[in-house]
């Protein structure tokens, strides 16, 4: 290994918060050399971004306090130099890109101005900066660079915005690029393209790349070395292959085991009766066709997954068939009756039989209601089970069913972790003994290890209670593990539909193939093989 360009030594950072001091990172040490890619892998709250923020002097103190450690770059300890010295390094020698490029670009200035500012802020002449910006914008693959310079961030797509962020970061040819979850907000096909671009640019400039990610697939695709963080500490480090194949720490092993897309594929049961039948459902907003002629059926105890990238119409489909949006045309037959035309009284009955679990439980649970109130609300609405004692007993039963405990009954949503909150949302859906549950990206906001648990829970409910599921997701691994039938959507239309095995092993449509190819495998060897086959070309 060549000489380290940047070294973090025994870094410990505390956050002083309302509930006491949190040791955000403890004794973290890592280093990165020229031309090398180091991945920092961890789940939410693992402290994976803290050292990067310390390098960039982006930690606000208070609440943050750097307790000990040093960050060595170019013979200097970055924790000891002045604000002004730090400012001169930021962007020039060490640059950073972030997860959400829309939020991280200033909405009120043109992207050209922002990219040029990277150089003018460091005292370079404007015309030189302008020329370099044009070159780089062209290099990262944005069409019509002159025109693009004058446009504003909201006028680009998510992938293009991240490309522009990368162009901005590379303006001064930095030695080190820190990428904090650079592709997490992007669709899989775009993610693959952005990662490829990062790799190319790294090869051209020989810079060091520090990638912060929660995604084993992304790490396997791009990193040379990896450090795994859990609860503020580095639990494992080594080359990507070492860590994947010979993980020593139990946490790492658990993380690798939880990666979706490895289980047995389910086979749909063709003899079950049809519950829901959707016929030529369409919905448009002004002239934009969000959903066009969608037709499919759901049988009892079936798990149907709808996959697609953002803007594919998968959420519109769910919202329209639940009458949260008014359909333009088409029919939705629930046990033979058209849900879209039925009276309010009939609809109330159906609202009991179909439940929904939303993406973000933080938002789908009313923060001012206790767990008991949340779960019992359905009974109030449908005037069921009047006895309070009986209700409490049933709520406790439901909590236990989803893996929570009786003591949780009087707490409020903010006192739970993300995974626990989603379990509450599932318990709420189960309270009305539904026959169909629609999950709209119900696990995508959760950490991988929690994701696996929630998927297992849903599957056991399907098997034990015979509940059907419509499972809307963008993550193919999760879909592969959970669904027995898959619908692939693109631009408001159903592209392909079939049993899971068929979609994953013998896809017919080019779009399905592209989607599958872009899905990154957590196994670095599998990824290397795919790359060798030129599957991204």
């Amino acid at each position: 290994m060549s000489e380290a360009l940047l070294t973090v030594k025994n870094l410990s950072v505390d956050f002083h918060t309302a509930r006491g001091t949190v040791h955000a990172v403890r004794n973290v040490s890592w280093s990165v050399s020229r031309g090398e890619t180091l991945a920092i892998l961890g789940e939410s709250g693992s402290g994976k971004s803290v050292s990067a923020n310390a390098i960039m002097n982006l930690l606000d103190s208070p609440p943050a306090e750097i307790v000990s450690g040093e960050i060595l770059y170019d013979g200097k300890d970055l924790l000891k130099i002045s604000q002004e010295e730090h400012r001169a390094l930021n962007g020039k020698k060490i640059a950073m890109i972030f997860q959400d490029p829309l939020g991280h670009l200033n909405p009120v200035y043109s992207v050209g101005w922002q990219i040029v500012e990277m150089m003018t802020a460091h005292g370079r002449p404007h015309d030189l900066a302008h020329k370099r910006a044009l070159e780089l914008i062209a290099r990262v693959g944005i069409p019509e660079p002159e025109k693009a310079m004058r446009k504003y961030p909201h006028q680009f797509s998510g992938g293009q915005r991240q490309r522009l962020m990368i162009a901005m970061a590379l303006m001064l040819k930095p030695d080190i690029l820190i990428a904090d979850e650079p592709t997490t907000a992007l669709d899989v096909t775009i993610q693959a393209e952005v990662l490829a671009l990062l790799k190319e640019l790294q090869a051209e400039t020989d810079m060091a790349l520090v990638l912060i990610s929660h995604d084993l697939g992304v790490v396997a695709e791009i990193a040379d070395r990896i450090v795994v963080m859990n609860e503020g500490e580095i639990v494992e480090s080594g080359t990507v292959r070492e860590v994947y194949h010979e993980a020593k720490h139990p946490y790492t092993r658990k993380l690798i085991a939880a990666a979706p897309g490895k289980g047995e594929i389910k086979i749909p049961n063709r003899s079950s009766p049809i519950l829901l039948s959707v016929e030529k459902l369409s919905k448009s907003y002004h002239s934009f066709h969000a959903l066009r002629d969608a037709s499919f059926t759901v049988a009892r105890a079936q798990s149907l997954a709808i996959v697609g990238e953002s803007g594919s119409g998968k959420s519109t489909l769910a919202r329209t068939l639940l009458r949260l949006e008014t359909a333009d045309s088409g029919h939705v037959y629930w046990k033979g009756k058209d849900l879209l035309t039925m009276s309010a009284r009939e609809l109330l009955g159906v609202r009991r039989e179909i439940q929904m679990v939303f993406q973000d439980p933080t938002q789908s649970l009313n923060p001012r209601m206790s767990v008991y109130e949340l779960i019992a609300e359905g009974w109030d609405i449908h005037k069921l089970m009047p006895a309070r004692q009986e209700r409490r007993a049933r709520v406790i039963e439901l909590l236990e069913q989803v893996g929570l405990i009786a003591e949780h009954i009087d707490r409020y949503p903010h006192q739970f972790s993300g995974g626990q909150r989603q379990r509450i949302a599932i318990a709420r859906a189960l309270a009305l003994e539904p026959e169909l549950i629609i999950c709209d990206e119900a696990v995508s906001a959760l950490d991988v290890s929690i994701q696996a648990q929630v998927i297992a829970l849903l599957d056991s409910l399907r098997q034990r209670l015979g509940i059907s599921f419509i499972f809307i997701a963008h993550d193919l691994g999760v879909v592969r593990d959970f669904a027995d039938t898959v619908i692939v959507m693109k631009a408001g239309e159903i592209v392909e539909m079939g049993p899971t095995a068929q979609i994953f092993e013998a896809p017919r449509e080019p779009y399905t193939k592209k989607l599958l190819a872009s899905n990154l495998d957590p196994d670095p060897d599998v990824q290397a093989k795919r790359r060798a086959m030129g599957i991204y070309a």
Binding site: H16, A18, L348, R352, I381, S417, G418, A425
Partner: protein, 307 residues
């Protein structure tokens, strides 16, 4: 990462949520404000009964008696007015009507405005447009004219004063409530309630009202100060409260002719308005933080300084 804190499952002892009084103690400005407001409130409630006729008893020898002297007893420590009445006693009596008017106005405007705002935010476009245009009309209607109309048609009285001021303040609550409803009704938990089959009234009462209530209360606190100022302005112009009723604003107005000879006649009541309004402003700032679960940590944070 801060994320760890919100994610961390907490112990049962924290289920009740933070104690309001201890959070109040942590913001010293807000704490002092509450003490001052309570003091004003208590003296306004029981003061006039205790004082008897001290506030109305004229004494021509004590006309424009200068302040800061105990020569004529503590009631005259703040001086005497143009008819020789105790300034302090009159301030306390005026406090009662000042507070009664402000409280009545805020309560009436808040209830009416919030209900209209909920309707405007939740109902269809037509109802909403009509309500909003009416609010526009009220907003552009000169409050001076409303005051004069009510004064001449209904006669001068404290309830009529409340009516005048409440009309002008309704749009504030209406607009705030409507804007909040429009935002809250798009939130996921409202959508979740709709999917479960909840009726409109249930969604408004159970899901929307509890979420917008803190904002409305915070605004009401601030508005209390504003209404006090508005009332005093009208009284000052002679189209508000009429003697023998008395408010702080009217006292300033009555003291104005004696500015160069007896400054205290106009100074004390004005100062009372400033102190009360300032306290309400500080309390409102504190409420805004204390009632917001995402900001509340600012008031709890100091507990851990010693850790």
């Amino acid at each position: 990462m801060p994320a760890t804190i919100t994610q961390a499952p907490t112990t049962a002892s924290e289920t009740k949520g933070p104690n309001l009084i201890s959070m109040l103690w942590r913001d010293k400005f807000a704490f002092v404000s509450v003490i001052i407001l309570l003091l004003i409130l208590v003296s306004a409630l029981i003061g006039p009964a205790l004082l008897g006729d001290a506030a109305t008893q004229q004494n021509l020898r004590g006309r424009n008696f200068p302040p800061f002297s105990f020569e004529r007893g503590w009631l005259f420590y703040l001086g005497g007015d143009a008819l020789g009445r105790s300034m302090l006693a009159r301030l306390i009596v005026a406090a009662q009507s000042t507070i009664a008017i402000a409280a009545g106005t805020v309560a009436a405007a808040m209830v009416v405005g919030t209900i209209l705002g909920l309707i405007a935010g939740y109902m269809g476009k037509v109802v909403s447009q009509v309500i909003m245009r009416l609010a526009d009309v009220i907003m552009s209607f000169p409050s001076l004219l409303i005051a004069v109309v009510v004064l001449y048609v209904l006669g001068p009285s404290i309830p009529n004063m409340i009516l005048v001021l409440a009309i002008t303040r309704v749009p504030i609550y209406l607009r705030t409530a409507r804007a909040e409803v429009l935002e809250v009704r798009e939130r996921m938990f409202v959508q979740a309630a709709i999917v479960m089959g909840a009726t409109h009234s249930r969604i408004i009462v159970k899901h929307i009202l509890p979420v917008i209530a803190p904002t409305i209360l915070t605004i009401a606190t601030l508005d209390f100060a504003f209404v006090m100022l508005a009332e005093s302005s009208l009284s000052f112009l002679g189209i508000g409260v009429q003697p023998p009723d008395i408010t702080w604003g009217l006292m300033v107005s009555q003291g104005r002719p004696y500015l160069s000879s007896a400054w205290w006649l106009a100074f004390w009541p004005g100062l009372m308005i400033v102190i009360a309004a300032l306290s309400l402003n500080l309390l409102s700032n504190w409420l805004r933080v204390a009632l917001d679960p995402t900001q509340r940590w600012r008031l709890e944070a100091r507990r851990t300084k010693s850790v």
